[in-house]
Amino acid sequence: MILHPETKKALAPFVLPGLIAGPVLIVGLYLFLTSIPGGLARVIIFCGALIIFAALNAAYLVWLERKVCAHIQCRIGPKEVGPFGLIQPLVDGIKLMSKQLLLPKGIDPFLFKVAPLLVLVPAVMSFVTIPFGEHLAARNINIGLLMIFAFASVNVLGLLLGGWGSANKYAVISAARAVSQNVAYEIPMLIIVITMIMVTGTMNLNEIVMQQSGWFGNWYIFRFTASPLMPVAFLIFFVCSLAETNRAPFDLGEAESELIAGFHTEYSGMGFGVFFMGEYANIVIGCSLATILFLGGWQSPVGIASGWWWFLLKLYTLIFCVMWVRWTYPRTTLWGLLNLSWKILIPITLFNLLLTGAMLKIWPH
């Protein structure tokens, strides 16, 4: 770690307290959050915690993305601001917040302003039902899965309105692309979710995780008695979540070599920042769902010491894969993307649905 001597001197008194206080804070927060009873206090505390979680994720996933892509490309990545560049996201955040919000001529001001929020708010709302640990979920509701997908479909509206409202041709093209892409990929994704609901018999996310307890052979990705195509279903779910979140190789909405920045071309400062936070929050949601549905959520792969740490480990491994894919593959075209969905993914998922139905008839749980 190369640090400026002055920085080192300034940071020195904080190292030991930080090393002690960090874990203590995390454990304390965990104990605190799990022990809160219902009522107004729980709502307020969890709202705050989830917003902080989403914001920190957005900030530090950008840092992680820059580090991952740097190492893939034989570079070092951010290293100047703080140790390993860890303070960079905060500084970037301050920069974005202090920038002027430009409203270009000819835009629809209301749509232009509301669009970033329509991307961010549903994503943060979706965190409410995610069970991070056995008792660590803001609300453990019975239709959690349905709620997440209801909110996820609002996301498209944000992209469409952002593109339309900016009165920019590139943004409009991008919005049209994003909508057709999202519609095409929501179908195979939902078919897989229907399959999973048939297998699990519940839409309660925590119950789905409970059903996968024990060793990792109990995870739904390896539950071959439910459907021999389970690993394929996981793969399709992962691909669809890439497409749903506009990530490479499906980042047609913001194809920088074609559409400059796509739907957020005209956004400056925090307008862009909120879009960005929404995008990363959506990635976290997509990977969380894949973890919960297929990889056993917070269950330990060996059956002992289950807890939120397993959830985060699996979640960030998946997110790393998302980044890995992005920095390896070039972009597909719109037709390639739609063909993949309609000609390959949807038939496979439909077949999987039928197969699962038949298997359930033969071996009922």
């Binding site: 194809a255 593959y329 070039p330």
Partner: protein, 372 residues
């Protein structure tokens, strides 16, 4: 134009691509008439970086124009140095020492590889893949270091002189070049694994952006664009200049006419250039690098002279008319990308925006060379 006529009743719009746009690699502007994502007409608008090089040539002495040739195609500047040196040497009847000829070939081919590597990275970047760019830059950096050690500059070279070279190379350059050949040969399979065999690349490039040999003839396209259309034409083989006839190398030709063919031509050319450099290093004779009887003040005899070289992007032709004074009477540059871009309007008709930009990337445009 039939597409355009048919679309008169539909809603079309004009999309202004450039002069500041990530895909145009400079200040090229393309006026696109679009129907949704389909391109009805793409009209390149030039002139944003016009610097009147030809007029400058008429006002400068013969030697003073040499640095200008390094500023046309800044990615393959040595070929342009070479073209101008050739034409003046032809006019003056100067014979270049053999060592200088070999070194010219070595440096020009190194420069060609550097240019193709940069194109490779930028092309994949156009297709949305960022990582190969930095790998290509890593290798290109080695070439630039080598060239810097002998020419003194890294981009806008002015290394050639009428009758030879500005200075001789040292042993470090020779060993460095040999090491580089080895290094790049070991890296090429990585490039092919990462990019060429990538399913998304193949889907995007195969049978997309067709340019027929007929279209190339019509617009005068040369270089990898022409060779990707199945025409076996390379000045280095067809009208050998310098000492190219002494080397054993192939001209890669692909008959598919699509973007993939142009991509493969360039990737194969990198390997062929490595072969040429290897042979030239083996055969490199001893001796002076500058002809002895070159007059201090160049005054080309009256007449009309032409020389053409194979630059990284195609045929670079240079024609000078001399009236016997110390400046050219007229100087005309025939730059390859200008002709290669001319076919863009016809070739891109009816394409999707994403494919049209892949086609534009496969033409390997360098804007200062188009505008001159």
């Amino acid at each position: 134009m039939s597409d355009l006529a048919r679309s008169q009743n539909q809603e079309t719009f004009v999309l202004n691509l450039g002069p500041q746009h990530p895909a145009t690699h400079g200040v090229l502007r393309v006026k696109l008439t679009m129907d949704g994502e389909y391109i009805l007409r793409a009209e390149p608008v030039l002139g944003y970086i016009h610097r009147m090089h030809e007029k400058m040539g008429e006002n400068r002495t013969w030697a003073q124009f040499m640095p200008n040739t390094g500023r046309l195609d800044y990615l393959g500047a040595l070929s342009y140095n070479h073209g101008y040196a050739l034409v003046v040497e032809r006019a003056m009847g100067i014979t270049v020492p053999e060592r200088a000829e070999y070194l010219r070939v070595i440096t020009v081919e190194l420069n060609r590889i550097a240019s193709h590597l940069l194109w490779f990275g930028a092309f994949v970047l156009d297709l949305g893949g960022f990582t190969p760019l930095l790998y290509a830059f890593d290798d290109r950096e080695k070439i630039l270091d080598l060239l810097e050690s002998v020419t003194g500059s890294r981009l806008t070279f002015c290394y050639f002189r009428f009758g030879g070279l500005y200075n001789d190379v040292d042993d470090d350059f020779i060993t460095g070049s040999r090491a580089f050949i080895k290094r790049l040969r070991s890296r090429m399979p990585d490039y092919h694994n990462l990019v060429t065999n990538n399913i998304i690349m193949i889907k995007r490039l195969k049978d997309v952006g067709l340019i027929s040999a007929e279209m190339c003839r019509k617009y005068g396209a040369t270089g990898p664009v022409l060779r990707g259309s199945g025409v076996d034409f390379d000045i280095r083989k067809n009208e050998p200049y310098s000492v190219y006839s002494e080397f054993d190398f192939d001209i890669p030709v692909y008959h598919e006419c699509d973007s993939m063919a142009r991509y493969m031509v360039r990737m194969d050319e990198i390997e062929q250039s490595l072969r040429i450099i290897e042979q030239a290093l083996d055969k490199l004779p001893e001796g002076p690098v500058m002809a002895e009887k070159v007059p201090k003040i160049i005054k080309a005899p009256k007449g009309d002279y032409y020389a053409a070289v194979e630059a990284a992007r195609g045929t670079f032709g240079i024609r000078v008319v001399s009236d016997g004074t110390n400046t050219p009477y007229r100087l005309k540059l025939r730059s390859p990308t200008y002709s290669n871009l001319s076919l863009y309007e016809e070739a891109s008709q009816g394409m999707l925006l994403a494919d049209a930009l892949a086609l534009m990337g496969s033409l390997d445009l360098v804007i200062p060379e188009i505008d001159r």
